[in-house]
Amino acid sequence: MRKIKGIELNQLPFQIKWVGDLLRYDWPLISVFKDDENQIFIKSWVESNDNIHRYLIFCAYGEDLDGFINNKASYFQLLNNPINHSVFVTDFISNKISNCTLANISDLPYDYIPATDTMFDIDESKNLADIKNEIQLNRLDTLSRSMRDNGLFDIVEESAKVGSDLYNIHIKSKNKKVGFGVIQTSILGSLLKSFSDISAATALTMFDSRRSGDKTRRAKGEVAKVKSLGDTNFAYAKAASFSIFLKPIKPTIELFPELGSESKSIANQIFYVFEKSTKIEDLKTNKIELSDELLSAYTSFLKTVKENDINVSVQYGDWVDKQVLREAFDLKKAATILDNLDQLEIIENKETITKGTFRALDSISNTFKFESSNEEIFIGKFGESLYGSILNLNLKDLFEVAINTAFEKKRGKTGITEKHFITHYKVI
């Protein structure tokens, strides 16, 4: 067996139990293991000779494994992003570890690295339900580990001290931008402003969604009043690394009496958006609840996290019911959510049947320019089913056409683009 550059160990420094297989033939090629703290490990076969079987064992992020199982990431990506950037190159003889080397991922031989496009194949997996369950447990435990490691405060305890529900924004970084009791003003300002805007926009979205009638017409001063429901007062800060506590402003009016406390309803909605935005499918399904204003504020919040490479944990503590809402963001997660938000589009379709003549036809790009009898110009593409018949068209005859128009608006951007498709035509 080839010697791999790294630190020689006799044994693995942890004990792991098999959960399931991601890829198996006559023997498991890629398996999922876990330790007692629900940390996920991947064990991947790379080489064998007559006696020795070599596997890579590495600690993986639950979300990376989730991405692989959901075909959003390749096995190449999973292997190339181990926790601590290291893998245990482990040799087994008769099921016993004979050698173990802690190696950097970049020091692995070329033939230990999978192709870049290797995606998950459900047919060759085993115990997939247990693996998925493990990812959920890992998510919860990662959160509690992260709380422990990051020194997060017990938000319920803090809220009891001040006799009010509380938000806690806990900021940490490995760079010099945030330290013990110190934070760059621009980061603090940006985070507080964007979080405040998220809260205000959430209040407005919730108010609008519960209103009947024309939602674009509001009484004078109503918007400001509703937005203020989401506002907070700075309560206090603690040096650890830098932790801010915000107290929701006590509302003077009741806008959602059926939901109980205004601040709690708004907080629930904010954390719901935080959670749903991590997956594009969830985001698309829930797009009605995401106004442009909210997305703009959320984008600003995420950009602050991403551009400054900081870790931000947001907690909400309900001092009466002792409930906690919590979400953590780091550079990678912020980048993922920003990508998701970018993909979000509002699409509406409208079908128009009109008469007129073609002004231009292109059978190579399958495009057209059509002028209707009332001088409206449509430029677009033919639907796929019509590709073969474009050569039968001409610029002289009068046609009746069915034009499908897709109105697209990128979230957070002004302006609507229209895309026209001819789905049907006939000569008149």
Partner: protein, 140 residues
């Protein structure tokens, strides 16, 4: 009729193979092989090649059988995928797909998985080496 690895099978604490699932079969099958059809591992069950811990008795039992694929297309697709995931799979198992005909006197075949994979337990007298021909070599 005894199975080829009856001695090993008898030591297992489960029904091996489970006769409610394994039945006689006549027809075409495909198997991953080395380009040298006389390679000693071509028709050797994995338990004699990869000595490893099994999660359960059923898995250990399967290790005394041979893996076949029911279609050439599936076999090629799967072999490509295994090699992409673990490049040394080619050195261990081979880069070729071989086709052969099995009959009811050769052994018992298990149920086809979603991927078209089956496990086949050979009877004592069965010898496959000269009965398969290479139909695909991914290295060519």
């Amino acid at each position: 009729m005894s199975f080829k690895y009856q001695k090993e099978i008898d030591n297992l604490p489960c029904d091996c193979p489970d006769l409610s699932e394994f039945k006689p079969h006549n027809g075409q099958v495909f198997r991953f092989v080395h380009s040298n059809l006389n390679h000693p591992d071509n028709f050797k069950p994995v338990n004699f090649i990869e000595d490893r811990e099994h999660e359960d008795c059923k898995s250990k039992c399967a290790g005394y059988g041979l893996s076949f694929w029911m279609t050439k297309g599936k076999a090629e697709k799967k072999l490509t995928n295994f090699i992409k995931n673990a490049p040394n799979f080619a050195q261990r198992v081979g880069t070729c797909v071989a086709e052969g005909i099995i009959c009811q006197h050769d052994g018992l075949i298990g149920q086809k998985s979603g991927s078209g994979h089956v496990t086949f337990h050979e009877f004592e007298e069965t010898v496959f080496n000269n009965r398969f021909v290479i139909v695909t070599n991914l290295n060519q």
